[in-house]
Symmetry: C2
């Protein structure tokens, strides 16, 4: 296996170690929230497992992404602050970087493809970030981000293939294991792999034998395929309702999954939506589809999870409320 | 004004004092959850107020009702335990009494009218309560409950016109003011008035000058009418999506609202549904329509709330998930 083989050009990114993750935790304290851990007797009974839900949908910006973005922004040298930061993301990372930049009084440039969800664009604008529209293709996004870097000197904060971002995401494992030390398994979704990588590094530094598992949508199963092939597979065309998990696994991220023997389990969208419904009903928490892949995996793979104590990361709660029906009452 | 005038026969029920509420808090500790208080910068900005949401939808059984039911059950003498308890409620009080009875190993009889929501009936059955079906009229419910009392010796735990229940509901104000002492206003929904009464008694014992406000659906505005008339109005036919607030204000409950100068504000269902959507979106919390009347009131009456620090009780999160649309993915 050679994780350095990559079809797309990408900067070589080192993985953070536990010291970098601890430094990130200190850096983001006072900006990021310490999110609660929730439990549900009903979901434990339903799954035969003991589930500890780490509620990152209650993080600032409604997703764990604020941790990584905040660590990246506060890792900059003082003389870099005036240059600003740039990323291309119509989703949670874009909002997270906009919020994080505001905590340091920096300009954030967010490249957003046409057709992005209006409420997310409005949220990004509301915190003072500058929005740059482009065509809805990866090439257009990369080109726009590159142009902004040249024109403004802004520094790129990649959504997941970034040492500072991976370290920031890892801080949630420090929190979870600090509150709930007796876990057998740590379970996250996997998209680009910033969360899965950071959490694996942090968790194994604290509890070397802990099983690391990641849930991936069947319609965006590049991480599972990459692990099976022993190299990064980048030609998967995503087709899933989990809009937070459509990204292709990053090169350093895949390396972390290999090193930490992360098991990737595939769930389909129907399983995910049923799991989302269960989370809404029993935890009373509004989580987005990407967040529900983890419970879908616990239900679909009892041989992996039954009888075990599982830390389950609920990654975000930014859902398009217009896609829900609101019964007989008026809405405008 | 004479609060003792009542069109329907009802036992004379004394209001609890702060000592009874403190005793209730001690009695239910270890059974009930200490629920969190949540905040949202977005909702503060939207309302111009500083909102502290007491999250009783995260209480056992998904509603504040467990407090009162638990206090009632644990107030019984040892020789009364074998008689069991009975109530008529297809909603949150029925489930709360079933759960509370289970904590003391008692039999609960829950009278449920035909046509009640299946998920609630299943939840009540799942905790071991005995369900008694009747026709969906108040007369049939009263008759069935009376028959069970005669046949089994079970003791009635009324949903709101009950000293022990009112005391139990009041415990949430002790918790809220203990965590968040600097409040100007305490805001609850009002249906039968168990919550509004208990909270007013507790809050005024701790902070005599605190403003007490209750939100009531326009389609079930008997509390507002009763306060205006100076006597209990019982002929309002409820027409509201807030299924937790269709009950007629109880006699002791109205007396408490009068004594504590509770201001009742009317909101319509469209305002409530819009507020529910805001709570789901910004707090990421699944609350039921009854719970959203409070935010609807804050938005509809800025002259009452703007610039003030408000304790807002989110009463429950038991919603019929089948009434929501779940997008393109399968459901069964």
């Amino acid at each position: 296996m050679n994780a350095s083989v990559s079809e797309t050009p990408e900067p070589v990114v080192a993985l953070p170690d536990i010291h970098a993750i601890r430094a990130a935790a200190a850096r983001i304290a006072g900006h990021a929230r310490v999110t609660p851990v929730m439990r549900s007797d009903a979901l434990d009974a339903l799954t035969g497992a003991r589930l500890h839900f780490k509620c990152e949908h209650l993080q600032r910006g409604g997703a764990f992404k604020f941790r990584g973005a905040c660590n990246a922004v506060w890792s900059l040298r003082e003389d870099e602050v005036e240059r600003g930061v740039v990323t291309h993301s119509s989703g949670n990372h874009g909002l997270a970087l906009a919020l994080a930049s505001a905590t340091r009084g920096m300009q954030a440039h967010i490249v957003i493809p046409e057709g992005a969800v209006r409420s997310k664009v409005e949220a990004i604008e509301a915190v003072g970030a500058r929005i740059h529209r482009c065509a809805p293709t990866q090439a257009a996004r990369d080109a726009m981000a590159a142009r902004i870097r040249v024109q403004t000197g802004a520094l790129l904060v990649h959504p997941y293939a970034d040492t500072r971002v991976i370290a920031g995401q890892g801080t949630l494992a420090l929190e979870l294991l600090g509150n709930t030390p007796l876990l057998d398994v740590l379970l996250t979704p996997v998209g680009g792999g910033g969360l899965a990588a950071g959490v694996a590094i942090a968790a194994h530094a604290l509890v070397p034998g802990m099983a690391m598992v990641a849930a991936e949508p069947a319609g965006a199963d590049d991480a599972a395929r990459s692990l099976a092939a022993g190299r990064r597979i980048t030609d998967v065309v995503p087709d899933t309702c989990c809009d937070g998990l459509r990204a292709t696994i990053g090169a350093p991220n895949l390396e972390a999954l290999q090193r930490h023997r992360t098991q990737v389990l595939i769930v389909d969208d129907a399983q995910t939506i049923k799991a989302m419904r269960l989370l809404w009903q029993h935890l009373k928490q509004v989580v987005e589809p990407s967040s529900a892949t983890v419970l879908a995996a616990v239900i679909a793979y009892p041989q992996v999870f039954a009888g075990r104590r599982i830390g389950v990361v609920l990654t975000g709660g930014n859902i398009d409320m217009d896609a829900l029906s609101w019964g007989h009452a008026a809405r405008d």
